[in-house]
Amino acid sequence: MALGKSYSLRKSDERTGIIFILPAFILLVVFVFIPMSKAFYYSLHDYMLVSGSKSFVGLKNYSALLQDAKFVNSIKHTFYFAVIVIPVQTAIALGLALLIKPQHRYTGFFRTAFFVPVVISTAVAGTVFKLIYNKDYGLLNALLSAVGVPKISLLSNPDIAMNGVIILGIWKAVGFFMIIYLAGLNNIPQDLYESARVDGATKIKQFVYITLPLLKRTTAFIIIITTIDAIKLSGLVFVLTSGGPNSSTETIVYFIFQTAFEQMQMGYASAAAFILFFMILIISVVQMFSLRSKVNY
């Protein structure tokens, strides 16, 4: 990728670059930065949603949040979700992509089948999983008891409920990342594998020394996107658990939504959003740097 930088740009090229970016940039300013600065303004105020009454409180919302057990718990729940989903989902996505990479007559069908959960509406997925997870009547426990595993209650045991959200989350999203991996796999020149085979490298060696290194960029992209999505988790919680049992699946964005629209404390909710924002920002920057250093091939 060093080529792009060695190429000396003329002034007109620079102008073209700016013109190409302009439409997106205007949208960014109008529909992201203006509302965002407004939200930041709210976060410094005691802003109530309907009344609009606000008095300047400085950073009080921020300091109060850090002592708010509900908010701190929501951070813990969110990170638990992220820490599991990021590696597991990425690994499964890669595994599925490898599974359907070989061209057989039936791979087209399976590729579509694996993608179907991405297409299903979140609300329907939540409903079906609620039925599957049910402690006494669900499919999951029927299967578990068939192999002699004791019943688990993913919907009512606060200690394990987040795992239910994780399974649903992976089920719903993994197909998309599989597709991204598949595109990455297809970009790897086949002759690399052929010469490796000639050299007598095993399949495992080929995977470790060719496939994985050449998928670094794809993996970096997938990890960054998955991280951001995981930390912004809320939709699955709304449809599966409504934050329960006993608040054990309340995530940061769920907390923000409840605070803003149920409690109408818009200022407080906005402050929580900016804490979230800075958390993801730091994580993303660290990720980008640590992943970028490995991309030079």
Partner: protein, 276 residues
């Protein structure tokens, strides 16, 4: 032998992926009582209707007050328009970020990325106020224009565009082609799979949109699918069979679209034909 295991493994995963959608489609063809009664214990009838019926579909489609097909059409229009605009606007920007690294482009890219991070739920009220001040409330403008920025799309396309060898672009440039021509004649054709992937995910995102249309649309005739489906829930419960029927109507076209497109989007960057 290995091939049989491979096939079996994929079949099991496919069942896990497909079971809920099969339940949805078959569930839309039975009565509420039957659906709920059979959800409680496991048998063939948990999935397969005892008495097949199309009543849910007729109830959903032929409701004079809430014409569901109208909502499907609205959503189709909004999602398709947004998808086209997203592909155009964001591929241009992604191309500039990938290949025209002008002064400050890295910093501007970080600015864009920061937009990916802020959760939409917090932006709901400020964005509502903004759209309100622009006079766009209760129109498709409010649904379409703010959605045409896809930072995720810029990020993803940038990844793909970076795979295009710079030498090709450079030589085209030396031959006197403008960047817009290069973008149209080389970059876009080479990245059809990436564009289709982004198109699908954008379309789905808008197809599944709920909170934003709920808040900005006040006229029932302009409403979108997911809001209409949510209306089947009231204090006395959810009309599950109608929800399943409505979702079936909403999902099947997408699946067909996906089936048609699926042979394109998995290919990665195809440089065949432009290498010369």
């Amino acid at each position: 032998m290995l091939r049989i295991i491979h096939f079996l493994g994929m079949t099991i995963i496919a069942v896990v992926c497909l079971l809920p959608i099969i339940w949805m489609i078959l569930g839309s063809m039975r009565s509420y009582q039957e659906l709920i009664q059979n959800a409680g214990h496991l048998s063939l009838n948990t999935l397969v209707p005892v008495e097949w019926t199309l009543k849910n579909f007729t109830d959903v489609i032929f409701d004079d007050q809430h014409p569901f097909l109208r909502y499907v059409f609205n959503t189709l229009f909004v999602a398709a328009t947004v998808t086209l605009l997203v592909l155009l606007i964001n591929s241009l920007a992604a191309f500039a970020f990938a290949k025209l690294s002008f002064r400050g482009s890295a910093a501007i890219f970080v600015l864009f990325m920061s937009a990916l991070i802020i959760p939409g739920e917090v932006m709901l009220v400020p964005n509502y106020m903004l759209v309100n001040n622009l006079g766009w409330l209760n129109s498709f403008k409010a649904l379409i224009i703010p959605s045409t920025l896809s930072v995720f799309g810029i990020f993803m396309l940038k990844q793909f565009f970076e795979e295009i060898p710079t030498e090709i672009l450079e030589s085209a440039r030396l031959d006197g082609a403008s960047w817009l021509q290069i973008y149209r004649a080389i970059v876009l054709p080479a990245s059809v799979p990436a564009l289709i992937t982004l198109g699908i995910i954008t379309f789905l995102g808008n197809w599944d949109g709920y909170l934003w249309p709920l808040v900005v649309i006040n006229d029932d005739k302009l409403q979108l699918i997911q809001v209409a489906i949510a209306n089947f829930t009231s204090i006395s419960g959810t009309e599950w069979t109608k929800v399943l029927a409505a979702n079936t109507i909403a999902t099947v076209p997408i699946l067909i679209l996906f089936l048609i497109l699926q042979r394109y989007y998995v290919q990665g960057i195809t440089m065949s034909g432009v290498k010369g």
